[in-house]
């Protein structure tokens, strides 16, 4: 399994997993603010099926970290009521596909209550969703459903890819007065990195993308050359970093932009990179058709049309229900497919003939 360590800073003096960083973020938020409450299925005694909430019930009591009855609409619906009364609920959906029963509450209430009440009743709810595949989960355990949330005004949609972001973005999500769908790439839960729980790194706020890997040779706006931008987020960030590394061998110089949040979307950072490179590939696990990549490609194209040497391409999951474990590797966008897409970015125009694509 690919890990996020590629983005880390070297010697793992204090190696931490993303799971630990997420748990710590909730712990610190609960310690700092008594209105933060965690609820969901198995989040208490068990500490969650991924153990992300481990220890919270013990430290803060069952009332602050509560096992609920097994009903996702009920969980989110009661969280709405709690938020109406001034609490900051952090809700865990056990797996991505098990958030679907809560869809009506999410769309018709969570996303709209602030607007409905002219700002007088914001709902500071964080909906944590372990999402994506790559862990060998059977049906319904590997969905990537971010487009459903992205397409719903009123929701923020956040997906960390690094351990520092897992902590920093989750703290920011809990502190946000707007509801946040917080997508935790479950196959990065056990990725390790150098991170200090006592002095967690400052990270940019929700709504800001970061260039995880600047285009080496051509950085600084020196024009397209043999460079391109990989636009990605969540579990695909490590894949893109690996692809960018591998691409050096082919003579490509790839920037990797980690979106960090899909809503708000950071056009500025993304478009600055694409204007630098002139080419872009969007990479995500979710299915392609109607998925996030369409929006991203379309808005980049609207804004950077005259800088583009080639259409923005997409490397995504196939347009199929998520496959069973034995076949998922064929579905997931991996390094090879990213490199294939890069190769299709119409380099011919600038080629010295004879170099293979």
């Amino acid at each position: 399994m690919t890990t996020a360590t590629a983005a880390g800073t070297g010697t793992a003096r204090k190696p931490a997993t993303m799971a630990q960083a997420l748990g710590r973020a909730m712990r610190d938020a609960m310690a700092a603010d008594p209105s933060v409450h965690v609820l969901g299925e198995d989040v208490g005694t068990l500490g969650g099926v991924f153990r992300i909430t481990d220890g919270l019930a013990k430290e803060f009591g069952d009332d602050r970290c509560s096992d609920t009855p097994l009903a996702e609409a009920g969980i989110l619906g009661t969280a709405v009521g709690m938020a109406m009364y001034g609490l900051r609920p952090v809700v865990e959906m056990q797996f991505d596909a098990f958030a679907y029963p809560a869809f009506e509450q999410l769309i018709s209430h969570v996303s709209r209550m602030r607007n409905r009440t002219r700002g007088t009743m914001p709902l500071p709810i964080t909906v944590r969703v372990p999402y994506g595949g790559g862990i060998g989960g059977v049906e319904h355990h590997s969905d990537s459903s971010e487009i459903y949330y992205m397409a719903t005004p009123g929701l923020q949609v956040v997906a960390p890819a690094t351990i520092a972001d897992a902590y920093g973005l989750l703290r920011a999500a809990i502190a946000s007065d707007d509801p946040v769908v917080f997508l935790e790439p479950k196959r990065l839960y056990w990725s390790k990195g150098d991170w200090s729980p006592d002095r967690p790194d400052e990270v940019p706020p929700i709504g800001r993308a970061v260039v995880r890997r600047p285009g080496g040779g051509t950085a600084g706006g020196s024009g397209p050359g043999r460079s391109a931008t990989l636009i990605t987020y969540g579990p695909s960030v490590p894949v893109c970093l690996e692809a960018a590394e591998a691409a050096r061998a082919e003579g490509w110089d790839l920037e990797v932009v980690d979106l960090r949040s899909l809503v708000p979307f950071d056009d500025e950072t993304v478009c600055a990179s694409v204007r630098r490179t002139g080419r872009a590939v969007v990479v995500h696990e979710a299915t392609g058709f109607g998925g996030p990549g369409g929006e991203i490609a379309a808005r980049v194209t609207e804004r950077c049309f005259h800088h583009l040497e080639a259409p923005v391409l997409r490397v995504t999951g196939f347009d199929i229900p998520y496959p069973p474990p034995m076949l998922e590797r064929h579905h997931l966008p991996g390094v090879d497919r990213v490199l294939d897409a890069v190769a299709r970015l119409q380099w011919e125009s600038e080629f010295t003939e004879g170099r293979a694509v």
């Binding site: 009855p69 619906g77 009661t78 009521g81 609490l87 009506e104 209550m113 002219r118 009743m121």
Partner: protein, 383 residues
């Protein structure tokens, strides 16, 4: 079901008792709806309560008539009337303390008004100028809820949160007979019972979900019989008997406030008007049925009981009617003024801070509006 007789003595070690079994009997509703008016016990209802109920019922009926009239004048986009159900609305509006919360559906503007909300604010959704016309905190009335039964978990969550904070707050949530079929009803009641949340669920069983009669909605002995399945008491009450309703709800609210958990109350009533002004009720029910229910009118029931106790005379009836007319006139007048709507507000409340694309879109609309105004101005100039 006792199709199979429980056989005699049991010899092996019985399985461990792993949970306290509560006794089901006290949770079951009576077979007949609870009633006060028209019974001997009506004599014990405090006179001032009856007077208050009467005043609100008469006002409420007039309010419903006025709101319906406003739909014909194009001043309301739609109005789901509570004519015939005023007793439920009034009792729900009166039974709570100021610090408590009310969770109304689209049909429950009257309850919100009884609770103190300005009717113009209460009608904002139905007028069409914004989705909700009031700050929910001022009167502790949640926004009118349209997606059926979805307000019920909100009420549970709020009541639970209040209890966690140590506040002495009860939530009362309204739902229709149709709404009880939704999954959210089930989940809300279950959470409430497990959490022992201080919440009261009032089902206004008005016999229909738009055109669908109760018999196609449920096969249960009564909707109140659902309560035992969650471990909370279920009460059945005559929904046109304002005094009975007030007493049953008051009892349930006290129970909740006392830490004894939630109650499900089913009020059996009838929707005298069509579902909304847009509905044609003759397609699915007979005039005879409506007439039969008119004979069990909540205002008439109360007035009869008050006359029995000499609590009502022509003068006092007239006085209440007059004040109802004044309210209606005021409502009519204020609703006849065009509300001030600002298209730019569309972008204001989606998030705490506008996203960049909302800023772009707001600028686009601003420019369009300016161009419109500019065109108007120059047209005016040209004339």
């Amino acid at each position: 079901m006792t199709v199979l007789e429980q056989p005699g003595a049991y010899r092996p070690t019985p399985p461990p008792a792993w949970r306290p079994r509560v006794d089901a009997a006290p949770l079951l509703p009576d077979a007949e709806p609870y009633r006060l008016l028209g019974t001997a016990a009506a004599a014990d209802v405090p006179a001032d309560l009856l007077t208050r109920l009467h005043r609100e019922l008469v006002h409420g009926r007039r309010y419903n008539a006025q709101a319906t009239a406003l739909t014909r004048q194009g001043r309301l986009a739609v109005y789901p009337s509570s004519t015939g159900q005023e007793a439920c609305q009034v009792a729900a509006g009166l039974v709570l303390e100021e610090r408590d919360w009310l969770f109304p559906s689209y049909r429950d503007t009257l309850a919100a008004v009884v609770r103190g909300l300005d009717p113009v604010q209460a009608l904002t959704l139905l007028r069409g100028d914004w989705h909700s016309g009031y700050d929910p905190h001022t009167h502790r009335v949640a926004p009118l809820c349209t997606p059926l039964a979805t307000q019920l978990p909100h009420a549970v969550g709020l009541a639970h949160a209040a209890r966690l904070k140590g506040d002495d707050v009860v939530a009362l949530a309204l739902v229709g007979d149709g709404g009880t079929s939704e999954g959210d009803f089930h989940e809300a009641l279950n959470f409430a019972a497990v959490w022992q949340a201080p919440v009261v669920f009032l089902v206004q069983n008005n016999g229909f979900a738009i055109s669908v009669p109760l018999a196609k909605q449920t096969a249960a002995p009564s909707l109140a019989h659902k309560a035992v399945g969650y471990g909370m008491p279920g009460r059945l009450v005559d929904g046109n008997d304002a005094a009975a309703l007030h007493r049953v709800l008051d009892e349930a609210v006290r129970r909740a406030r006392g830490g004894k958990g939630p109650t499900l109350v089913e009020a059996v009533t009838y929707r005298i008007d069509a579902h909304t002004n847009a509905d044609d009720a003759t397609r699915y029910r007979t005039d005879a049925e409506v007439e039969a229910w008119r004979a069990h009118d909540p205002i008439a029931l109360l007035e009869d009981a008050m006359r029995d106790r000499d609590l009502l005379d022509e003068r006092s009836v007239e006085a209440v009617r007059e004040s109802a007319e004044r309210l209606a006139a005021d409502l009519r007048e204020r609703m006849n003024q065009d509300p001030v709507v600002d298209p730019m507000e569309l972008f204001e409340h989606v998030y705490a801070n506008k996203t960049s694309q909302l800023r772009e879109q707001a600028a686009q609309l601003r420019a369009e509006l300016d161009a419109e105004t500019g065109a108007d101005e120059s047209e005016k100039g040209a004339r």
